[in-house]
Amino acid sequence: MSVDIVVPNQTRYLRLIGNIAEQIAKELETSCYDQDTLAYHLNLVLTEAVANAIEYGDAKSPNHNVKVCLSIHDKDLRISVYDHGQGFDITSVPAPDLDKLEERGRGIFFIRNLMDTVAYHRSEGGNVLEMHKSLG
């Protein structure tokens, strides 16, 4: 199963993407996961990733789109979020110091916490955040 979503790079579409993620989670057979918790987690991971793609991805072109691909095969969940920005080195993003009360910097933290693997690299003339989780 796969779902590809393309929306204008506007935060008002975060809800749609998050809700679609929840609907998909409802259909997944998971042994090791409560279904509603999984739904929240997928919603959160997509919301954070797409919010970043909107914020850091080419703000100069307000009519740019953000693309999201979700696929599930044999209990393997893969999510890709594409952006057209400068890109960044995700391996150099430190874990946030949770004792410091920074207002920002918990997005990648959530994503890393809730997915098994996370990578970011150039792709298709832009960048892609690739995430994977085993639902086994």
């Binding site: 509603d36 959160l44 919010a51 914020e55 910097g105 997005g107």
Partner: protein, 114 residues
């Protein structure tokens, strides 16, 4: 964004009437809290009982309110967190930072506040 601000028991209650508190609307909450403080409100309660989903920017808006209230020697407390919303506070250990009450009633009668 649906935000209800009202005086109750000498507190300013800001009730978030949205199912999602995310990068689309969290800035509006942040601004509303700031304005409330600027207008002299010192004992704030943010009621999150309608919120089913919060992301990192929503947590950030609440932290902004917390820090700004502290700077002005005000109080800033939260009420009505749904279980999954609460678990996001736990994952980021912010449950140790915020004063959190199960419901608005407890928040309004809370001891050691402001």
């Amino acid at each position: 964004m649906q935000l209800e601000t009202r005086m109750q028991n000498e507190r300013v209650v800001i009730a978030v009437k949205e199912e999602r508190l995310d990068a689309h609307n969290s800035n509006e909450l942040k601004e509303r809290i700031l304005r409330t403080l600027e207008e002299g409100g010192r004992r704030l309660v943010v009621d999150l009982s309608a919120v089913k989903f919060i992301d990192s920017s929503g947590l950030g808006a609440l932290l902004s309110g917390y820090k700004n209230a502290n700077q002005r020697s005000g109080s800033f407390i939260l009420s009505g967190l749904q279980p999954r919303v609460r678990s996001m506070f736990e994952l980021t250990r912010l449950n140790r930072v915020f004063e959190i009450y199960p419901g608005l009633e407890e928040a309004l009668s809370g001891q050691g506040v402001g």
